[in-house]
Each structure stands twice: as structure tokens, then as C-alpha cells.
Subunit: 356 residues, 2 copies
């Protein structure tokens, strides 16, 4: 090592200028990992999908990792620690299922400030253990350390999938049908409801909570479930999607990811986007546009996938699935076809933690 | 989900009492992961070794994860970001090599506050990419997000090893020889030297840096190398240790881990502990006891392993290895035999981030 370098560094720290918020999270990852060279044949897919894919003898291993930071991704004033632990696992398992893989193991690392007690961490881990139990996943490692401020959770999940059943973001083809599981926008609205409750409570600690009308929304925010059942359903249906991604940052962001990685375009039909009745009524109450909430809300943890038209019979009439559009040639672009029949270019308004 | 629970939680957050510093990091992990049930046959080893071990068709997969927090594990006033990136990878690879496995893939997640620029993160990743290049490891995934304060790096490393060559902490037997690679205590002293330089510089910004005498110490602190070469050497020597651990928290802490997991005792001979000449002279200058520094200093990233006595010929005379003691029956306890011939019980004084 060059001692001059160290001395220079001790004297004059290099000050440079590009702010991270200009770049945004996706571009930042892309930028920082661009130089990564692949050394091992077993590394079938590195950065750029829901998981990395590692070759094995028979099955492939998939790996994904997520970081949750207090004050950025969660607020403990309305997120019970047990739910947070559960949700932190779901966020990662959702990425595994988005590869059509089965989740097998997780590691959990946490950094905590002194304000947390052992009992608080036990609550957090109760949620983690519950998630492992419900989803049959093994907690195999981790690290705990202190932080200067708040709580941070870093989870890595490992899964397995037969090589011919692994589904990437990059497999969508023109004329594929675009299908979504469940319904969208509820988790985002649940957050708005909880935030309003918190504000009411701050002003008047004796106020009655009125959450009954919003049960589904609050549950989707505080206790989301990853779609393990869909991976099983695909197996039962003998259906392997051409491409798949999980919906964590809002529908529009994920549609754009699929299109970019698959080099295709897409038309999404506004009137097909599945919305729960509580989403529709609460959007009216909050004076929000339900389509915007579905497109940009995030945290749904549903799956978005494409299938060839000859597989349509396999999803038709199944209450888990809604066909919301179709893929096109790349030159045609990515559009939302509004209820009025207008064709609007789709842009990513997904939640960007670096812009907060 | 029970809405009453949510309402109660919004009104009255559960306050509980056991402070984390009472417990310490190792006990905390043990405590929090105790409830983890194993669901998959392929999960051969979960929490409690340097890595988790996952069964495959032929080779086993090992997984490890580490979290580095600014202000706790590193200080950017004397740690250049490129070195930090490199070191963060080494910390994880060292755990993989401690299983006698070959490191193959890593994921890297970072949380950064707004004070970091893109150029700063590029420096960090330059170190990460360099480490991947030098150690032939593939960067396969990660997550970037913002933090409220400072920089946090979470790395997960994956490796592979033939089942019959995987070395656990739990395999040591009474009468095994205890062997260490390289020399100990230098990284800790490097940190003391850098800390002193920083203080001098704060008082007098025009002071001349005098780091020439401490080149080795500073290098061990700022640019440690994980012992990939030792895993290869074992292969060449056709030597499979009975047990192994990497030295990250100081020799005494690691000896105690081996003894606990293997249910054996140990005698370590003070006069055998390998020390570099710069460690000896700098300990004199700083008025520190070199044995204490080696036992409790930490961040050496050397390997500590045990072998049967009939393998002694394989390590004898090899400059990479020093035999520093031998294992005993568990009832005999864990002791340091001092230069004066005294038998002192060994206690873990390893660095505990939760006590800071």
C-alpha cells in the first residue's frame, strides 16, 4: 500500500459532487455494479433481476437481498416490531417467488441503537420466526451490531428452482399477455390510513380509532404475504410464465422493468387493473386517483408475469389472476390505455428511497 | 389481524427493559435465533459457525453475512472508501475460507446518508470490485437505500466445498494441535497508530505524518487479506483440519468458540503466539502488552484450526503456520500458559460492538 496515499487522504479528503438523489436507486445500482466481471460458470445471472441465479447439479439456486431502514422504509410508531419482522422476510421471499423458485433459507442481520431493548428484538424475531414457520424457510445465519441511530434490517434469501422453470424478467415476448395476481394499491392506502390515525392521536390522545372500515388496507400494509401459493399454482397448472417480477415499487415501475429487460413494449388497460372495494372507497375519501395509487403505490408484493396467448386457458377464470394488458414490439413503447381510450406513456413514479 | 392489537399499539407502545449491552453480541444472536426450526434437509448447518452450510448434489454451499456500520466498525476519517469496500468483502470471504470452502459469489447492500456523493460510492465499489477481481468472486446482487445517518454495508458471501472437506468449529478433539496462520495483533495496533495520527493532525494540521515505521500495521488495518491461499495450501498438503474458525474478534474469543462448539478444553502457550517485529516494537512504544493485543485485538482475519497429531508433519516448518497449543478434555478448561509458566484461565475480551 502506498503510504503517500494514506497521508494525502488523512490531510485532504476527496470532496466530489454528484448527489445521489439525482441518480435514483435503480440507476445507482446499475452504475455501481457495471464493472462486475463474472468469474464462475455457476453464476448464471448476477445483478439485474429479482434474484441472482447460481447453477447447481440439478436445481438452480437463487439469491436476493433487501435492506430496510427505520425512518425510510418503516415507522415504528405504527409498525409493531413483530409485523416488521414478518414483513421484512416477506419482502425477500417475494423476490424468490418472482423467479418461480421455492424459498429455502434466509440470513438476517440487524443494526440497532441502544434505545432498543432485548424484548423489542424478541418481538422483531418473533415475526421473523413466524414467517419462517409459515413459509417453511430456514433461518441460517446473521449478524447483530449496534447502530448510531435507529433500526436496520438486512435479509438475504436463498431459493431453488429447476433450471427449465426459472423465470427471468427478460423473457417477455411481443403478444404475451400481461397478468397480475391479487389486487393493487391497498398497502399504500393502508399506510395513509395509519399515518392519519397517528396524526389524530397526536392531537387528541383520547380520540377513538376508526380502523374497521380499513381492515384490508391496514392488513396489506402491516402484514403482507408473499405469493408462495402462486408458485405452487403454476406447478399445478403446468404453467411456466415467459417473464415475471414482483410488485414492490408500484405497477408502472415493474411494467417498465419487464419491458426494459425483455426489450418489448406494453399496453396496460386502466379498466383491467384489479382494485379492492376498500381501495376504491378509500381513494374517494382521501381524494386520490385509484389508478395512480395502483401504478405508483408500491408494497403490494403481488406477482406480475407474462404468458403466451396459447396459455390463456390456464389463467382464464382463476380468481387469483387478472389479465391487464399485452406486450408489444419495443418500438411501440409502454402505454396505459385509459378508461377514456386515451393512450398515455407510462413513466416510473415508483417509490424511490434515495429521493426522500 | 386483530385491529384491537393495532389500536393498543398505536396508543401505548410496549416498553420493556433488558438492555442489549448486558447481553453482548454472541449471546444475543444465540438468544434470538434459538427458536429457529429447520425445515429443509438441505440446511445442514444453520446459525453458529462461520457460515451456514447448505447441501447440494455434490458440493455443499456455505453462506455468511456481515454488517459494517460507520462509527462502530469503521471511521471514514482514516479509512479511505476504496479500502473500506475491499475490507468489507474480506471480512465475509474470511468466514467462507474458515469453512475450508471456496468463495464464489457475494451480494452487497448499502445504506447511505445524503452527505455521500456518487463519486464516494464509486470509490467504495472500486474497492469491492477490486476484491472480487483479486479473489475471483462474483458480485451477484444487492440493494442500495438511504440512511438517516452515515454509511452501512451489508455483505452476504456464498461459497462451495466438497462435503468431506467442509470444516466446522465443532470438530476439534482432545490432543489436537492448535495452529494459527500468519501473525496476530497488527491490525489492532494499526488502528491505534491511525487514531493517534488523526489526533495529531487535528491539533496541528501542518504536522508531518510519520507512518513509515508502521507500514505493516497500517496495511493490516486498512487492507487486510482473507486467507484464500491457505485453503489452497490445505488442498496441496492434503490436509483437512478437524476444526477451524477465522480470527476476527481476537485470538481468545476464537479459541473459546472452538472449545465451546467442540466440547473440548485448550492450552495456549503465550511464547508461541506469532507476533510481527513491528507489533513488538509498537507495543513497547504505546506501552501495551503484546499478548493482550494478540488475544483481544481483533481484525486479524487469520485462520485458527486444529489438526490431529499425526498431521503435524504437514504443517511443520511451513512459515504460514504456527502451532500455539493443544486441545484437552473439556473439564480441563481453557488456559493460557504464560511465559512464566503460569496457567491463566482464558476469558473472552474480544471486541463487542454492542458494548460500545
Amino acid at each position: 500500500m502506498n503510504m503517500d496515499y494514506i497521508c494525502t487522504m488523512l490531510e485532504n479528503k476527496n470532496e466530489s459532487r454528484t448527489s445521489l438523489s439525482e441518480l435514483g436507486e435503480f440507476k445507482l445500482i446499475e452504475h455501481l455494479t457495471r464493472g462486475a466481471k463474472i468469474h464462475h460458470q455457476s453464476t448464471l445471472k448476477g445483478v439485474g433481476d429479482d434474484c441472482a441465479v447460481i447453477g447447481g447439479q440439478e436445481k438452480l439456486k437463487v439469491v436476493t437481498t433487501d435492506l430496510l431502514v427505520e425512518g425510510i422504509h418503516f415507522d415504528l410508531s405504527y409498525m409493531p416490531l413483530k409485523h416488521l419482522g414478518y414483513k421484512a422476510v416477506m419482502v425477500n421471499l417475494s423476490d424468490v417467488y418472482a423467479m418461480n423458485a421455492n424459498a429455502k433459507q434466509i440470513t438476517v442481520s440487524i443494526a440497532v441503537s441502544n434505545r432498543f431493548t432485548l424484548e423489542a428484538l424478541e418481538e422483531l424475531y418473533a415475526g421473523i420466526h413466524l414467517a419462517c414457520e409459515m413459509y417453511e424457510v430456514d433461518l441460517v445465519g446473521g449478524d447483530t451490531t449496534s447502530s448510531n441511530k435507529g433500526l436496520l434490517i438486512s435479509i438475504t434469501a436463498l431459493g431453488e428452482v429447476e433450471a427449465e422453470e426459472c423465470v427471468y424478467r427478460s423473457g417477455a415476448k411481443p403478444n404475451d399477455l400481461l397478468v397480475v395476481t391479487g389486487d393493487l394499491g391497498a398497502a399504500y392506502l393502508g399506510l395513509q390510513v395509519l399515518e392519519r390515525e397517528r396524526q389524530v392521536f397526536e392531537v387528541n390522545p383520547n380520540a377513538q380509532h376508526e380502523l374497521d372500515k380499513y381492515t384490508y388496507l391496514v392488513e396489506r400494509q402491516l402484514k403482507p404475504e408473499a405469493r408462495k401459493d402462486i408458485v405452487r399454482l403454476f406447478e399445478d397448472l403446468e404453467l411456466v410464465p415467459n417473464s415475471m417480477i414482483d410488485i414492490s415499487d408500484g405497477l408502472s415501475s415493474e411494467v417498465l422493468h419487464l419491458c426494459k429487460e425483455s426489450k418489448v413494449g406494453c399496453n396496460v388497460y386502466e379498466n383491467k387493473i384489479p382494485l379492492d372495494q376498500q381501495v376504491i372507497s378509500t381513494c374517494e375519501e382521501f381524494n386520490l386517483d385509484s389508478t395512480t395509487v395502483a401504478l405508483s403505490g408500491g408494497e403490494d408484493y403481488e406477482l406480475l408475469f407474462t404468458i403466451g396467448q396459447n396459455d390463456y386457458d390456464k389463467v382464464k377464470g382463476n380468481p387469483n389472476f387478472t389479465v391487464i394488458g399485452h406486450m408489444t414490439e419495443q418500438e411501440e413503447g409502454v402505454h396505459l390505455i385509459t378508461r377514456a381510450g386515451e393512450k398515455v406513456e407510462m413513466i416510473a413514479q415508483g417509490w424511490n428511497s434515495l429521493k426522500e
